[in-house]
């Protein structure tokens, strides 16, 4: 038939079109690139990039930085470790933005004065040792002299002065400066444009860095140990702008190779890393927005390490391979439900708040619905944080008592209680539906669920008067009780999302914050915690866990309360 010839012709056309369209399109696959690319000539520091003699000893700059023989492509295939990020980092400059994705990458690329060890103790990093004056106002750091930036230049004390001044510069709009260095002498004047330098940031010589405070700030050292306070070289950034001059440069274990927005960030081992070249040649942080896709990529071997959510555990546990590859670490995060007193005046009544706390069967919800993706919260301070109270039990599931408390508050069987909305994110939709059912059954009140995108939920939280009841998590960036008891519940705090206002409570917090003696401080915070528990200003729900799928060939991967540990000691043994 003639029509058949037509069909054949059209099929041919289709085939040709597809071939033509596909062939030139893909860019060369970066993953298929030759093993360990040797540093490009641009990697070497240009003489013009060298610091001015006034700011640093010029002798630290090597005249040439020609590729060393060790950088020549090795015969063995490079080892690559592939992580997933749900979204892109916002920047690769550590101090500009305090956020998990940015911080996760900063940790491997950058280095700062101090860092945490696996026991959450602060240990030397670029600073060999440090001293604090008896009045708590002067911090003196002695720096190592063998630390080099990825561009080959030595790290000197002036770099810290520059970096810290930079993140305080109002034009840069960085958050790390104002929130971490607010008490530094002269910081306020500098931020207000009244001074051209920060008086309290000083570099007496190349290996001595001094911070002078206007007001004692015992938690400063905890904040200096985060990745956000890492050092950046002046010659690699644009002064007065939140931009790299060319490509990102740090002093950490891995150096920058490439960042394809919405695809991945690629780092490679820094051969000159001052603690020894890391054992993995390359790290890739893939941006994968869809959780189901990320899991499939892990199964297929396109990812080596993948954080999973409680919702995904159903699938992970049911899979013979993945269930064996799941590892868990405790996390310094409290998940809680805000009972907003501004929106719902009934929450001003302690009986109501306690009733809500008694009405939820945390254990069953966490075990059945969330498949133990977290532990039951027994209080406000996650276990593992020094001030946490071991053996605390929190609110037991007790519907009878909950009903009694509601009756006492004048809401017998929920009568007269306003209709409220419970706001949460899509990840926790199932949990929210289960919680709403328990509140209905045990308190007789009607709660609707609203699923919001996490940015919107967060925004409503900060607005303080938008959500009646909302689920959120508050993570530690430092191991200290104040993260929860002060930031979330102190009446004058912006992040007092419940608008909880109790002068007695504030007084206790003030006392703990001002306590200089370490042992007394811990005791004071425990008093605060006990009061918070009794007052029930929120519903503490769970202490989070880090849940990771880790391929068996990845060794020594670990996470502490603050997040996955640096990847410099991770190994791949296939």
């Amino acid at each position: 038939m003639k029509a058949h010839r037509l069909l054949i012709a059209l099929t041919l056309v289709l085939a040709i079109l597809v071939i033509v369209a596909c062939a030139p399109a893909p860019t060369p696959a970066p993953t298929a690139a030759p093993p360990t690319a040797a540093p490009k000539p641009t990697d070497a520091p240009k003489p013009t990039d060298a610091p001015k003699p006034t700011s640093a000893p010029a002798t630290t700059v090597p005249a040439t930085a020609a590729p060393k023989p060790t950088d020549v492509p090795k015969p063995a295939a490079p080892t690559v470790l592939r992580f997933r990020n749900a979204r892109d980092p916002r920047t690769l400059e550590p101090g500009l933005f305090l956020e998990l994705v940015t911080g996760g990458i900063a940790k491997d690329m950058h280095a700062g004065l101090l860092r945490y060890n696996e026991k959450m103790d602060i240990v030397p990093f670029i600073a060999k040792e440090w001293t604090v004056s008896s009045d708590g106002l002067t911090y003196t750091f002695k720096l190592r002299d063998d630390v080099k930036f990825h561009n080959g230049r030595k790290v000197v004390a002036d770099d810290f002065v520059y970096t810290f001044t930079r993140i305080l510069n109002p034009k840069i709009k960085a958050a790390a400066g104002p929130s971490n260095l607010a008490q530094v002498k002269g910081a306020k004047d500098y931020m207000d444009g009244k001074a051209t330098a920060v008086e309290g940031l000083q570099a007496p010589d190349a290996t001595t860095f001094k911070i002078v405070l206007a007001k004692a700030d015992p938690a400063l050292i905890l904040r200096l140990a985060t990745a956000f306070m890492s050092v950046v070289p002046k010659e690699a950034v644009i002064d007065g702008e939140a931009k790299w001059k060319d490509k990102p440069v740090g002093a950490g274990a891995y150096r920058y190779v490439d960042w394809q927005p919405n695809v991945k960030v690629v780092l490679e081992a820094n051969p000159d890393y001052f603690l020894g070249k890391p054992k993995i040649d390359r790290i890739e942080f893939l941006t994968v927005p869809d959780a189901a896709t990320a899991l499939a990529q892990y199964q297929k071997g396109e990812l080596d390490i993948l954080g999973v959510t409680g919702a995904q555990l159903a699938q992970v546990n049911a899979d013979a391979t993945m269930s064996k590859e799941l590892v868990q670490f405790p996390r310094g995060q409290l998940t809680f439900f805000v009972l907003n007193e501004k929106r719902v005046p009934a929450f001003k009544d302690k009986n109501v708040r306690q009733a809500f706390n008694h009405a939820l069967d945390r254990k069953t919800l966490i075990e059945k619905v969330m498949r133990n993706d977290r532990n039951v919260a027994t209080g406000y301070i996650p276990l593992g944080i020094p001030e946490a109270i071991a053996g605390e039990t929190g609110y037991a599931y007790d519907p009878t008592k909950a009903k009694e408390l509601m009756t006492k508050a004048g809401f017998a069987d929920g009568k007269g209680f306003p209709k409220i909305e419970f706001v949460t994110t899509a990840d926790e939709q199932t949990l929210a539906e289960a919680i709403v059912a328990q509140l209905k059954a045990n308190l007789g009140i009607d709660v609707t669920v609203r699923i919001g995108e996490s940015g919107d939920v967060l925004n409503g939280l900060w607005a303080l008067d938008k959500w009646d009841m909302v689920s959120w998590g508050w993570s530690a960036d430092r191991p200290a009780a104040e993260v929860w008891l002060y930031e979330l519940l102190y009446s004058k705090n912006d992040s007092n999302f419940a608008s909880y206002n109790n002068p007695e409570y504030d007084k206790l917090v003030d006392k703990a914050l001002g306590e200089v003696d370490a042992a007394k401080r811990t005791a004071a915070w425990r008093d605060v915690a006990k009061m918070a528990n009794d007052e029930a200003p929120m519903i503490p729900f769970g202490f989070a866990k880090y849940l990771y799928l880790v391929k068996p060939y990845v060794k020594s991967f670990s996470a502490d309360l603050l997040g996955p540990t640096r990847n410099e000691n991770v190994l791949i043994q296939k």
Binding site: A292, A314, A434, V436, V449, R450
Partner: protein
């Protein structure tokens, strides 16, 4: 008739009141359309009367029986909170059908009317309407939907409104295209010469003659709307829980495709069958309304 005539539509007599009766007889001969029609009627009846069917509550949870496959008391199994899947699919159908029909009827009325006016009158009226259409159409619809979802209160009607706003320009454009091709035809000129009013020409001559592509569009439109609602669910701005909707169930269920396929497969089948039925019915109507498509 010119050799290169483009949209060859046979002029129809204005007073063809039994045209629809003829069409009805022809429709009955189309098996796929009849089956679809019966299926959709049954479905609509079923989901409307759902509360009377004695199904388990779609929101009743049973932690002891989560993610179970089909069983005698839960013939489609249970979901991640131990709720009856059949019941959720039936109640989810209410929402999906409501959204699909509500949106398409509004879109058809608004779009056809404006397209008809624009195409028929031409000139400034056409220009004005089409500029609005182009503007609305040019605006990336998903951005528009996400915006609107953020502004409007979370309810089924907000979703209907969003989808109507996104949908009508397409209908208007298609109708206008058809009208443009039709209005130069002899029978329209003839009607005008006889002194028929503009509205009479539009409604009695042009509209019936451009109806068949629009009906195909309507059936695809309902399908498309149900799918669009599912797309909104994917973005987390669809029908809010605990109200079940097919799109929401499919999106949640696809996460467990490998271990608990019933969570996404059953709602997908429900959605696909409904969409298929609307399409078959649309095809059948189209053939029935257009005598030239009659089988010899």
């Amino acid at each position: 008739m010119a050799q290169n005539s483009i949209l060859p539509v046979t002029p129809r007599q204005p007073a063809a009141s039994n045209l629809w009766l003829d069409a009805w007889y022809r429709l009955q001969k189309n098996r796929a359309a009849v089956v679809s029609f019966v299926f959709l009627l049954a479905l609509i009846l079923f989901v409307t009367l759902a509360p009377l069917l004695g199904l388990p509550s779609p929101t009743e949870q049973d932690f002891g029986r989560m993610n179970e496959g089909p069983a005698p008391d839960h013939i489609f199994g249970t979901d991640e909170l131990g709720r009856d899947m059949l019941s959720r699919i039936v109640f989810g159908g209410q929402v999906s059908l409501l959204v699909g029909l509500g949106v398409q009827i509004s879109v058809a009325v608004i779009g056809m009317l404006l397209g008809l006016i624009a195409g028929y009158y031409g000139g400034m009226i056409d220009t004005t309407i089409m500029r609005v259409v182009d503007t609305m159409y040019a605006f990336p619809p998903f951005l528009f939907a996400v915006f609107m979802a953020a502004i409007l209160p979370p309810s089924v009607w907000s979703i209907v409104l969003v989808l109507v706003l996104v949908g009508w320009p397409w209908e208007a454009r298609v109708t206008r295209g058809l009208v443009l091709a039709l209005k130069e035809r002899e029978f329209i000129t003839a009607a005008r010469v006889v002194g028929a009013s503009n509205w009479r020409i539009m409604l009695k001559h042009i509209l019936p003659n451009s109806l068949s592509p629009i009906i195909v569009g309507f059936s695809i439109g309902i399908a498309g709307t149900i799918m669009a609602e599912a797309g909104l669910s994917f973005l987390g701005i669809g029908i809010r829980p605990p109200t079940p909707s097919w799109g929401g169930m499919i999106d949640k269920g696809r996460q467990y495709l490998q271990v608990y396929p019933h969570l996404s497969v059953f709602p997908s089948i429900a959605l696909a069958l409904t969409v298929l039925a609307f399409n078959f019915l649309g095809d059948g109507l189209r053939d029935a309304l257009d005598p030239r498509m009659r089988k010899d």
